[in-house]
């Protein structure tokens, strides 16, 4: 019977799930992925985690609790850093240890440390160390890792073309994507096109005006978790709004966009959030009509990045900006009302052709 490896569908799985899944499947293990977040998982997590932890970590605990009786091994890597000179958040650094002390009766946990803050090559020893536990064959591990990387590249390419995480993952499973050797060529993404809707957004029937485009910035595990964010992406799309997320951005655009900051953010994923927002603020004033920042309650980095973003947008004075904080009590009606009001405000600005009207109450462009 093959080894059953459980992967919680939470936190960094939203970025790396295809890589992990493909790697283990190629090595001959059975991969069990927890279902999409639902009420039971969230409630279970809230009960297990310490009160002060942030929402995504609480959700993660719920997913682990679901998997603990269904898998032989839980894959909860300690991802310290995924690129040089940058880190993830402290809670991700302590994730396997927090899981171990908060949840009882756990199976074996593979909490390998992934730290690429010195050099990217440091990933390889970790890959072989994990691979050896399943298969002693080094060639097979190399092959599995190679295929897994290919899968991740395809996945990222699908994301860049404007798919949400769920869509990209499903398309990947049904092999609905270009051959891998095209991925480098065929990834212009909506970010690179300075002015244009991304592929799958249909215009509202009967209106000649170009659809509204909104950048939804936030951690992928918040905005793409359809339960936590109350499926904000589909909500917006149903209103005929084109949605852009940080995952749809090219990395070099992000680096360029934040180069003016006095100090580069040392959190990888926050850098992406900041970069996405700054990119649209800097170059393509016409490309998006508004920015929605989604922060989870209790998220440390988000509290500072949200402030920096708000200040940055306020200084330019042109772009409508809204901060939505989500927590375990977020009600659908409240969130929807705010989103609708935001979109209405954008439409109204457009109709009045009132782009010089500040979205922040005052009349001048410098508030």
């Amino acid at each position: 019977m093959p080894l059953r490896i459980g992967i919680p569908r939470a936190l960094l799985a939203y970025y790396y799930l295809p890589l992990w899944e493909e790697f283990f499947v190629q090595l001959g293990a059975e991969v069990i992925i927890s279902p999409k977040t639902n009420k039971e998982l969230l409630d279970g997590g809230v009960e297990l985690a310490v009160d002060e932890t942030c929402l995504p970590v609480k959700v993660f605990m719920g997913h682990v609790d679901y998997l603990k009786s269904r898998a032989d091994v839980l894959f909860i890597p300690r991802i310290v850093s995924v690129e040089p000179q940058k880190y993830t958040c402290p809670k991700l650094l302590g994730l396997p240890d927090m899981v171990k002390s908060n949840i009882a009766n756990l199976p074996v946990i593979w909490g390998d440390t992934v730290n690429l803050s010195a050099k990217r090559r440091d990933l390889l020893p970790v890959v072989y160390r994990i691979g050896r536990r399943i298969s002693p064959n080094v060639v097979r591990i190399t092959q599995a890792f190679w295929r897994a990387c290919r899968q991740l590249r395809k996945y990222e390419c699908l994301l860049r073309r404007g798919n949400s995480v769920e869509e990209a993952y499903n398309r990947l499973r049904h092999r609905e994507c270009a051959p891998w050797f095209w991925t480098g060529l065929l990834s212009p993404g909506p970010a690179a096109r300075s002015n244009g809707p991304s592929a799958q957004v249909s215009r509202p029937a009967g209106s000649g005006a170009p659809p509204i485009t909104v950048a939804v910035v936030g951690h992928a595990y918040n905005i793409h978790d359809t339960y936590l964010s109350l499926d904000i992406i589909s909500c917006l799309r149903k209103m005929g709004v084109n949605v852009l997320t940080p995952e749809m951005m090219r990395r070099d655009d992000i680096t360029r966009a934040v180069s003016h900051l006095p100090k580069q953010l040392f959190w990888t994923f926050c850098q992406r959030i900041m970069g996405t927002a700054c990119h649209y603020l800097n170059n393509c004033q016409q490309a998006v009509d508004g920015i929605i920042n989604i922060a989870a309650f209790g998220c440390g980095p988000d509290s500072l990045v949200g402030e920096m973003l708000a200040k940055e947008t306020r200084r330019r004075g042109q772009m409508p900006f809204m901060l939505l904080t989500i927590d375990e009590h977020t009600g659908e009606a409240g969130l929807l009302t705010r989103i609708e009001a935001f979109i209405d405000m954008i439409r109204w600005r457009r109709q009045r052709n009132a782009c010089d009207l500040s979205p922040y109450g005052g009349l001048g462009s410098n508030i």
């Binding site: 002060e52 958040c89 650094l93 302590g94 959190w267 509290s303 200040k311």
Partner: protein
């Protein structure tokens, strides 16, 4: 140039001396009060941690008193402290205060040139002399503090100890050379030693771990050390700024060895640093448990990321070592009475435990 700096416990003595010796005009921020905190809370991001808010309040007050240069610490870890300076600078700018923020990163290579920049007319020799005097003063004030913690529970009049402590700090503040500092230190020690003590009896011993700023700043922690001392508890604080300087800036062999010991102690529970003092909180708690302490109090500001990781692991340690651990989460709403009640209840609990243990001991060994 009129220099100011953040306040943290008795650290202003050191900074005051350092910048005065460097020939700069110093505008020390007024002692933190509720008004300072209110000022910071009003202008800082809502979910930022307390140190950011209080420091911002300090800065606003100092700038209003005429300071034009703010010296602030930096950081490159995943803790939010590393981005404080930039966020605070933006907030000050938006409020219309004109002040330059000089960020001192935690490395000697970065520190020395920046200090040199602050004192353009001084020779390297004078700069090193200034640093030395400040360093001696920091050690002296930390020495006095740790002596207070020992003497206060044993003195007949604990308040007299606090008075001597305040006088000692004033003596230190007035001392300008190494000799004068040593004399002030000696005099304070002699005054403390002359105090009448209670008859020797075994005291409860409580260790304090957690976040540095909250552990040091009496406004935030409601003078927890004094209160515990007056309840006749011997307090051991594990956090001193001089310790931090020794291990992070001077790389002293002894401090490094101590750090390694802490890390090794924490290893079974937390296998990696998590920024801030998270790993230290875990390691020190285990060391205190092994040294036979009666209990540990963890203090942290609300939403502090590294300490939340530690907080989720501490109950496990408490269970394994049979030592009660209490966590105090402090924020701007922390009330004196609430904290006092919790401290008293914790001390009562420890006293009961000790009595029961004595009874059990007598039953087993029949003394």
């Amino acid at each position: 140039m009129r220099v100011t700096f953040p306040r943290m416990g008795a650290l202003d003595l050191t900074f005051n001396t350092l910048f005065k010796q460097l020939g700069a005009e110093v505008v020390p921020p007024p002692p933190a009060t509720k008004a300072t905190l209110a000022l910071g809370v009003k202008h800082a991001p809502e979910f930022a941690c307390l140190p950011l808010k209080l420091m911002l309040g300090n800065f606003i007050q100092a700038v209003e008193l005429g300071a034009d240069t703010i010296v602030m610490c930096g950081g490159c870890g995943p803790c939010r402290l590393g981005h404080y300076a930039q966020v605070q600078q933006q907030i000050l700018e938006d409020l219309g205060y004109r002040a330059r923020v000089v960020v001192l990163e935690a490395s000697v290579c970065d520190l020395l040139p920046k200090i040199r920049h602050l004192a353009p007319h001084k020779s390297w020799r004078e700069i090193l002399r200034a640093i030395n005097i400040a360093w001696v003063k920091m050690n002296a004030s930390d020495g006095i503090e740790s002596l207070m913690l020992k003497i206060r529970p044993r003195a007949v009049k604990p308040r007299a100890v606090t008075e001597i402590y305040e006088q000692g700090l004033q003596l230190l503040a007035a001392a300008h050379t190494v000799e004068e500092i040593r004399t002030a230190h000696r005099e304070t020690f002699a005054a403390v030693k002359a105090l009448p003590l209670r008859a020797e009896k075994p005291l409860l011993r409580i260790g304090i771990v957690g976040e540095l700023f909250v552990a040091l700043e009496p406004l935030v922690n409601q003078e927890i050390e004094r209160r515990l001392g007056e309840l006749q508890v011997e307090v051991k604080r594990t956090l001193y700024v001089s310790e931090w300087v020794r291990s992070h800036l001077l790389w002293s062999r002894q401090a490094r060895k101590q750090r390694r010991a802490v890390k090794d102690a924490a290893q079974p529970y937390l296998g990696h640093w998590v920024g801030g003092h998270g790993l230290e909180s875990i390691g020190r708690t285990i060391q205190l448990a092994q040294a036979g302490f009666d209990g540990v109090i963890q203090v942290l500001p609300f939403t502090c990321m590294p300490e939340i990781v530690a907080k989720s692991i501490l109950p496990q340690i408490s269970k394994d070592y049979g030592m009660p651990v209490m966590t105090l989460v402090l924020d701007e709403h922390a009330g004196e009475a609430g904290i006092m009640t919790r401290i008293e209840a914790f001390v009562d609990l420890l006293e009961r435990r000790r009595k029961q243990e004595d009874v059990r001991y007598e039953r087993i060994f029949g003394s």
